[in-house]
């Protein structure tokens, strides 16, 4: 074969690959969306179709993904709060406006940093665990076994996780709000010579309910995204144990990417 032909072939092969991965991406996206709607369907309609979504797995998942994440999210949110205070004071000092730092930090934490750090941590802790669990279950035919017993896998596996995450991620984000604001206050108050309670007062004046709700709404969406990405990645597993490792890793990357992208879109839409 002539070399020209060869290079033409490889260009076409490359285009083909791009096309294939694009359709695959769209397919995964559609699958995720359908999982989301199916979960809502089973939560609402399950009891009338003798496919009830049970409370026990919801609580178990809420415990694992939510309560057990409290220490790490608390500590890291505090750290982020202190870090924001340091950066804020450093930047505002140039204009001699370091007293404005409370305003900036309060908005930054409630609107952005607390939901984001919570989302990222939950994606790393629970999104990956979900992907690994689903991948293992797929490989060991446990999902097939569910189907063969007449148990809808979405109802049995996806809906409880989705429910737990949509409740627990905003709850964790709210806690991260408090931890972050406290951490920032511990640094800011002595630095700009105010008392901690004066700092609290200023913080409460700086933020409105809307700011907090902005962050909490976002984190509920993050919770949905983390679950759906974990499940979609997990169930796309091929191969054995190596495949489980692969989908677990990719679920973290996909989950965090989805969170950051959605965050930007959400902020864009909410601030217009």
């Amino acid at each position: 074969m002539a070399p020209a032909d060869e290079s033409g072939n490889s260009a076409i092969a490359r285009l083909e690959n791009i096309g294939r991965s694009t359709t695959h991406g769209i397919e995964q996206f559609g699958y995720g969306a359908s999982l989301f709607w199916q979960s809502i369907y089973w939560v609402v309609m399950g009891r009338f179709r003798s496919q009830r979504v049970r409370a026990a797995p919801v609580f178990a998942e809420a415990m694992e993904a939510g309560i057990r994440a409290i220490p790490i999210i608390g500590v890291l949110s505090m750290t982020i709060g202190i870090m924001l205070a340091l950066q804020g004071i450093h930047a505002l000092k140039m204009f001699g406006a370091q007293h404005q730092v409370v305003f900036g930090v309060a908005l930054g934490i409630t609107r952005e940093f607390a939901p984001l750090i919570t989302g990222i941590l939950v994606a790393g802790r629970s999104g990956s665990a979900l992907a690994a669990r689903l991948a293992t279950m797929t490989i060991s035919q446990e999902v097939d076994a569910l189907k063969s017993m007449g148990i809808n896998p979405v109802r049995f596996l996806v809906a409880p996780s989705l429910l737990a995450m949509t409740i627990m991620v905003p709850a964790l984000a709210l806690m991260a709000d408090f931890a972050g604001l406290l951490g920032a206050g511990l640094y800011i108050a002595p630095e700009i010579n105010i008392t901690l309670s004066a700092y609290m007062d200023q913080t409460i004046q700086s933020i409105s309910v809307d700011d907090v709700m902005h962050g909490l709404t976002k984190s509920a969406i993050f919770g949905v995204l983390i679950t759906i990405v974990g499940i979609v990645d997990g169930s796309s597993v091929t191969g054995g144990a190596e495949g489980v490792g692969r989908v677990t890793t990719s679920s973290v990357v996909h989950g965090i990417s989805a969170i950051v992208l959605t965050d930007m879109i959400f902020v864009f839409a909410a601030t217009r």
Partner: protein, 277 residues
Amino acid sequence: MSETLADVDTEQVIEVRDLVTHYGSRQILHGIDMEVRRGEIMVIMGGSGSGKSTLLRHLIRLERKTSGSIRLLGRELDEMSELEFYAFCRKLGVAFQGGALFSSMTVGENIMLPLREHTNLDQMTMQIMLRLKLEVVNLAGFEDLMPSELSGGMIKRAALARAIIMDPALLFCDEPSAGLDPVVSSALDELILRLRDALGMTIVVVTHELDSAFRIADRITVLDQGNVLQIGTVEEVRNSANPRIQALLNRRFEEEVVDPDEYLARLTGKKRSDSND
């Protein structure tokens, strides 16, 4: 057993007609015809890649067929809605090859899961039914262990107990004796025979183990490369003149006949213009 065999001819529990299936663009089953009679043990036998596992997955609607018809207990599988099929599943039991026990639940919870999901029985009754089935599979007293604490043979027996907990009319077993030592595997064969005799189930077993197939089967379906080679009693299959069946029975490897041009084309990695699969 003889009386069940006498009146079996009247009713087909499974009826497969001209089943064609694809995996992606590759055709796996090329028009399968078979039926299973009430109360019999039908063994689906074949080598790796013969399509026997695919056939099983189609019989329990884990895969969607390309064309043809599958009727289970008189109902066309694909005509059932999702919810109808979930209800229908209560009449089916499936024991998967690796057991497929849920690793996060104890053996007892695993076995009771269908009861918990499909019935309104109280805990006490479910416990009794659980112990009953554990007795049947000789696993009494193991209900509180986790699946990871069981041996291979015990996992298969637990999976069997879960498959029969709803007293299904139709039981599917995927490779019940694969990966087990001969003693444990023959114990499982005995168990399958006992289930049919005691509970009157119709049982479909997929296996590549000849000994086990001949021991338990009433009839055998031999699959090869997605086609049915023969359906018949153990004797008929044993005495079959078909060279591929004899190769399978005598564990003889059959050299694939390759045409030299094709071989050259394969080595150079170029497709011939008239590619014939």
